[in-house]
């Protein structure tokens, strides 16, 4: 039974990828499972310079998962490659996906360039979809022309495949994705969080410091699935599906809709043992439904 997946040349031995922001830099799950069980993982969104993110509270809850407005807190790309990656290699032996974010086109270029040189980076994920920062982030992800400018420039300095992580807030996601494909994207990551909010029941005021936050978790699964299904019809590059995946069945659905691999965020935060569990569920489901090569189900919903 094969679970190998080819992401534009980066081979992973299973399609389960912890999503950016839910796995830090790979060192927080060691008390729970062997982190080498992942297919690969996405680093926390990383910027050129250290970034402090938003004030607390950054977290709220809803019955389908959570909201966050972390706002890209990270130590900056230099610290990541200089301090974190060497430490990571003690326990983790696969490649990583570097999630790159910026506040200007130049930020993206420089950050991606640094990551691209790193041995352990297999793929660059351009995050133009963070809803929790006021400049950059999702602002870039709503406008196909800015998005393709960033991509084009980043592609010039990177030898590794570059995927773009899009936002569901984009008014015309299909157009965005087609534009990105035309501009040379090696693949797409769909999707970042959905914009939402919660209010404090006593005061009636927003709970999150940033007023709004990114909604994630099982509550958004059918929305993500639909977007991936729609985009798959319109592009020919690989899609990594993301949004609300919490079990093996969701993985099968997401891949059937068109995802070559999948990212998992919230479910890992609420159940730190979720990754090995989902991996086991996936194997069992492949047995049950006679799926011998997982890659064969990619996009079968459209056939």
């Amino acid at each position: 039974m094969g679970q190998n997946i080819d992401l534009s040349g980066m081979m992973i031995d299973n399609p389960l990828i912890p999503a950016s922001g839910a796995f830090g830099y790979g060192m927080d799950y060691q008390d729970f499972f062997d982190v080498n069980e992942v297919g690969t993982f996405c680093t926390k969104g990383t910027t050129l310079h250290p970034h402090k993110g938003n004030p607390l509270p950054r977290i709220a809850e809803y019955s389908g998962g959570m909201l966050n407005c972390v706002g890209l807190e990270n130590p900056g790309v230099e610290t990541v490659v200089r301090e974190y990656f060497p430490k990571l290699r003690n326990t983790y032996h696969k490649k990583v996906i570097a999630n790159v974010c910026g506040f200007s086109v130049d930020d993206y270029i420089k950050t991606a360039e640094i990551f691209d040189r790193e041995e352990c980076v297999g793929l660059i994920e351009l995050n133009i979809s963070c809803p929790n920062v006021h400049a950059g982030g999702a602002a870039f992800g709503k406008d196909p022309s800015i998005a393709s400018e960033i991509l084009t420039e980043v592609k010039k300095v990177c030898r590794k495949p570059v995927y773009v992580k899009c936002t569901p807030q984009c008014p015309d996601l299909v157009l965005m994705c087609k534009t990105l494909e035309a501009s040379g994207a090696d693949g797409l990551v769909l999707l970042n969080t959905w914009l939402g909010m919660r209010l404090d029941i006593r005061t009636g005021k927003p709970i999150l410091s940033n007023i709004t936050g990114g909604v994630s978790g099982p509550g958004i699964f059918p929305l993500s699935l639909y977007k991936i299904y729609e985009v798959y019809k319109n592009v020919n590059i690989p899609i990594i599906g993301c949004g609300g995946i919490s079990n093996g069945r969701d993985v099968i659905e997401m891949m059937s809709a068109g995802a070559s691999a999948i990212e998992i965020g919230t479910e890992l935060l609420t159940d730190p043992m979720a990754l090995p569990r989902i991996k086991k569920e996936l194997s069992e489901l492949m047995d049950t439904y006679n799926i011998t090569e997982l890659s064969e189900i990619i996009g079968r919903a459209h056939k």
Partner: protein
């Protein structure tokens, strides 16, 4: 360690120190709890809290036991001890010295997406006590669960550092902040420190843990907002305003504790942080994970960004940037 214990251990790290019969095992084996238990039951090899020995063919392998941070603990009891305050006793496999005062557990409350962080307020053998107040939907669900098991992450966070105190320690708690301080008080007494405890509550009916403190034989002082005395004024009355302390409670209280003692109001104290006073402060935040993965709980400190769930919840008062929290 009985076979039962093994269920609660996920990983056995192969010992680095040499041992004649030690040899490499497949990674898969190390992380497969079921196979371990099977192997154990089959061979009945010795195993204690620190080492596990396994028979593989003609070899013996010796591993360091790393307790799984995610455990199913049994609800022993869950009773109201003050208005809307409950004491939840959980039992199960707990390892020696595993939990330190000031650390917390992160509980999956059935029906809720996010876990709820609750401090450990008493540690005894294979049981822990948690004391929690009903404040919202999660604790409302929790109060009604009277038996069965809870899915818990433990231990989380750093806990208080008693070694940073000399022979004397002042322990100050406000409201539900007293919960982790009971564990700290017990431990400090065990380490033969001279302990003074000041606990503040809204009113006498909200007071908890008095009997427990009495049983410890510790010097303690309760004060009540309803009677116009708070922990800061009490500290002044006792003439202990410059003594190193450990504290947990609402943020304004913590802020006031770190302020010049001669400021008149809590409000004034906020701008008068006194860096001469050494305190260890336990902070709170809404948490996404509770184990350091999400950056949902980070605050800026003088030493850079720190996660309340991992580098905290206990911080040195001198590293706090009061205008950032």
């Amino acid at each position: 360690m009985t076979p039962h214990v093994l269920k609660h251990i996920i990983s056995f790290k192969k010992l680095k120190v040499g041992f004649k019969t030690v040899r490499d095992t497949a990674k898969a084996m190390i992380f497969s709890r079921e196979k371990w238990i099977l192997a154990f039951l089959e061979y009945q090899k010795p195993c204690d809290e620190t080492f596990a020995v396994r028979c593989k063919g003609i070899f013996f392998e010796i591993y360091e036991v790393i307790p799984l941070k995610n455990r199913q603990l049994e609800i022993i009891c869950n009773n109201e001890i003050a208005p809307d305050v409950f004491c939840l006793t959980l039992g199960g496999i707990l390892f020696n010295e595993e939990i330190h005062p000031g650390q917390f557990v992160n509980i999956h409350v059935p029906g809720k997406s996010l876990r709820r962080p609750i401090s450990v307020s008493r540690i005894y053998g294979d049981r822990i006590d948690l004391i929690y107040k009903i404040v919202g939907e999660g604790t409302e669900i929790l109060r009604n669960i009277k038996s069965g098991y809870l899915d818990v992450l433990l231990p989380c966070g750093n806990g208080f550092d008693l070694s940073a105190f000399q022979n004397e320690i002042l322990i100050i708690g406000g409201g539900m902040g007293v919960a982790p301080l009971f564990a700290l008080t017990s431990e400090a007494i065990k380490q033969c420190k001279k302990v003074t405890v000041i606990f503040g509550f809204r009113s006498p009916k909200d007071a908890i843990l008095e009997e427990a403190l009495m049983n410890l034989g510790v010097d303690y002082h309760f004060c009540f907002d309803s009677e116009g005395v708070n922990v800061v004024t009490m500290r002044e009355q006792l003439g202990m305003s410059h003594m190193p302390f450990a504290a947990c409670g609402p943020l304004p209280m913590l802020r006031a504790l770190c302020s010049m003692k001669d400021a008149d109001t809590v409000h004034e104290r906020q701008n008068l942080i006194n860096d001469d006073i050494y305190g260890q402060l336990s902070l709170e935040a809404r948490m996404g994970c509770g184990f350091g993965a999400c950056m949902g709980c980070s605050i800026e400190t003088k030493q850079g960004m720190k996660r309340i769930c991992k580098e905290g919840p206990v911080f040195n008062s001198k590293e706090i940037l009061w205008d950032k929290i």
